[in-house]
């Protein structure tokens, strides 16, 4: 019973992070119809930026701000320089470009920051709570992780629902031609979409790193799990991404806890294939059908 509780709580914490990551993928998919396979590598890079700042003696929070700002800039630059030329072209080209970025950024991080394991600080206590006699694998830091993801969710919903800018971004994603006619600067909106997505991705990267060890490939698994989560929820639906992320986090935690951690990635594959073949539009997609 205690193990079940612990596995569940660990899964929720992980799920929150996958949700944030899936959300970043969805943001980009909605605006440019591209799956950004470099998302994980970009997040890893900004996490290392934060670590550099923290190693220089600054607090975790300064590191966090640097990482998020770095993500914003990086997302915008990447969209402008390398994604813009392949937008709207053959979909294979965009896939290959993001994969190339993935490889290049990971190697660059290894060159700049080294490829040994480094510990990354957590802002809050890493000791689990004890209720009566029962130890719970839920720490003050886990609460921070979940709260951070919720805050980002709410902020994004507010941005898209209640602001003029959000409306323009939605319009640009929905129909570029019409938006252009209506005076929306579509290019700028797409860049902004990528920048915001990179911020959310960076946050996910930081949250995973907190209280654990980081190395240039530490986000590799998350790319896969985040993609599965986003597909599960329907690549178009931010709400779906969150629910997908939480479900994947829970499912994978059960697999890891009861079957073996080596099967986690395989389980993710099984879920992905099942979803794509049985309900290709995802669980939450509004569109009646999508071509997968």
């Amino acid at each position: 019973m205690q193990q079940f509780l612990n596995v569940t709580l660990t899964g929720l914490g992980q799920g929150a992070i996958y949700a944030a990551f899936a959300l970043a993928l969805v943001l980009i998919w909605r605006s440019t119809r591209i799956v950004n396979f470099a998302q994980g590598a970009m997040a890893m890079f900004t996490t290392y930026l934060a670590l550099t700042v923290i190693e220089a003696g600054q607090s975790y929070w300064v590191g966090l701000i640097v990482a998020l700002a770095g993500g914003l800039l990086m997302g915008a630059v990447v969209e402008r320089l390398v994604i813009r030329p392949v937008e709207g072209g053959p979909e294979l080209n965009a896939v290959i470009v993001t994969l190339g970025l993935f490889v290049a950024i990971q190697a660059l991080a290894a060159i700049l920051f080294g490829s040994t394991f480094k510990s990354f600080p957590a802002p809050f206590d890493l000791r689990g709570f004890t209720v009566g006699e029962v130890n719970i694998a839920f720490t003050p830091n886990s609460i921070y992780v979940i709260l951070a993801v919720v805050v980002v969710m709410v902020a994004l919903v507010a941005l898209f629902r209640f602001t003029d800018l959000g409306l323009k971004m939605r319009a640009a994603a929905f129909s570029q031609e019409v938006s252009r006619l209506l005076g929306v600067r579509v290019g700028r909106m797409l860049t902004l979409g990528w920048a915001l997505a990179a911020v959310v991705g960076s946050l996910a990267g930081l949250l995973i790193a907190g209280g654990s060890l980081v190395y240039p490939a530490y986000m590799d698994g998350v790319v896969v799990f985040g993609f599965v989560a986003a597909t599960l929820g329907g690549l178009d639906s931010p709400g779906g991404a969150v629910v997908g992320g939480l479900s994947i986090g829970l499912l994978l935690s059960y697999v890891s806890g009861y079957l073996g951690s080596e099967l986690v990635a395989l389980a993710a594959l099984a879920i992905l294939v099942a979803v794509l073949l049985v309900r290709p539009q995802g669980i939450f997609a509004k569109a009646a059908a999508r071509r997968v």
Binding site: F37, E91, G100, V103, A104, A107, G114, V264, L266
Partner: protein
């Protein structure tokens, strides 16, 4: 990318075309014959190169051979049929593990390689059935999950497959006739590195020969038709699903053979040998070489083998330490992948072809004018 010969023939001025015809008259008329001739020539070149280089180069060529086989398979799938796969590293793992199990049971090498091919092709058929219904980013994501997930099986069944530590693969013994033949040719004792390089390259040439024929024939035309315009292909009565699955099976069979060669060259099948880095490396090879071209796949795999030492040296020269310099090669891969897609999506072969065509026409027009 259109069929390689078409644009050259259409755009060539009369004089050049005449010289062209002169060549073609001297060559066997059937495609099969031409390919067979190329195979023969290529074999002689391979023998020359392997005999003139030392054991270390030989071992590099052996590595290039298995990259080449896998890349040739991938270029058929991605370049000719338009399906992307980031899971070919995992398929190579299937081939390598099968090879390890069969060689441990003392099954002859040739049978083992065919077995590895068959098993991987079967796995490829299963993946292909799922893949046939996916496209673009979905297919990329699913095969990425395959690449990350499948090696986990080797850890789960560790009693059988050796776990993280991997399964040691007995290196095939060099037969006496081989060392005699090598001695006859070059008066040196054959090293095991040389034997492995010969196995790799003979296999590679056979695979390229078979694929070239397949691509030149009806199957290749159908694959290209499906890639270029699904709807038109379907209207023409081509069963899309079947055609896609077939392409995946052929491609997986190549990956299986490549895995077998990798297994005997590396003498080990371990999950760490089949990471996402391998799959992305293969993709880099086919994209940089030129999607859809077998020559491109060969060029790309040469790049995978010979670029890293070069780039690493450059890295140490500019003052990076060893481990930093080792990361310079993947950085160059990634950057080149992006640049090729942005600047020259047809890859090295495409660029070369354009240059050659310009040169050819330029020369012949000068002469006639």
């Amino acid at each position: 990318m259109a069929a390689p010969t078409k644009d050259t023939e259409v755009g060539v001025p009369p004089a050049a075309a005449g010289r062209f015809a002169a060549f073609t008259r001297r060559m066997p008329s059937s495609t099969l014959g031409k390919h067979a001739l190329t195979l023969l020539v290529a074999f002689v070149v391979v023998v020359l190169v392997l005999e003139l280089t030392g054991p270390f180069r030989n071992s590099q060529f052996a590595t290039m051979a298995y990259y080449g086989i896998a890349a040739a398979g991938l270029t058929v799938l991605t370049g000719v049929n338009g399906q992307i796969s980031l899971g070919h590293g995992a398929l190579m793992a299937v081939g390598a593990y099968t090879t390890g199990l069969m060689l441990a049971a003392e099954i002859p090498l040739l049978v083992t390689m065919l077995g590895a091919m068959a098993v991987t092709a079967a796995v490829g058929a299963v993946v292909g059935v799922a893949a046939a219904r996916l496209h673009g980013p979905y297919l990329a994501g699913a095969t990425l999950a395959l690449a990350v997930g499948l090696p986990g099986l080797a850890i789960y069944f560790d009693h059988w497959l050796g776990g993280e530590q991997g399964m040691r693969i007995p290196s095939p013994q060099m037969p006496a006739w081989f060392s005699d033949a090598i001695y006859f040719l070059s008066a040196t004792e054959a090293s095991s590195a040389k034997y492995l390089a010969y196995i790799g390259w003979v296999t590679l040439l056979v695979v390229l020969f078979l694929l070239a024929n397949l691509m030149a024939g009806r199957t290749g035309r159908v694959w290209r038709a499906v890639r270029d315009d699904e709807v038109a292909a379907e209207l023409a009565g081509i069963p899309l699903g079947k055609v896609r699955v077939l392409a995946f099976v052929v491609s997986a069979a190549c990956a299986g053979i490549a895995g077998a060669v990798l297994g005997i060259v590396v003498r080990l099948a371990a999950p760490s040998g089949f990471t996402i880095v391998l799959s992305l490396g293969l993709l880099t090879a086919v994209v940089v070489g030129g999607l859809g071209s077998l020559v491109g796949a060969l060029l790309g795999s040469a790049l995978l083998v010979f670029l890293p030492p070069f780039v690493t040296n450059v890295g140490t020269d500019i003052g990076l330490d060893n481990t930093q310099a080792a990361q310079l090669a993947p950085f160059v891969y990634g950057a080149v992948l992006v640049l090729v897609m942005l600047l020259a999506p047809s890859g090295a072969v495409g660029v070369l072809k354009k240059l050659l065509k310009k040169l050819w026409i330029g020369r012949s027009t000068r002469r006639t004018g």
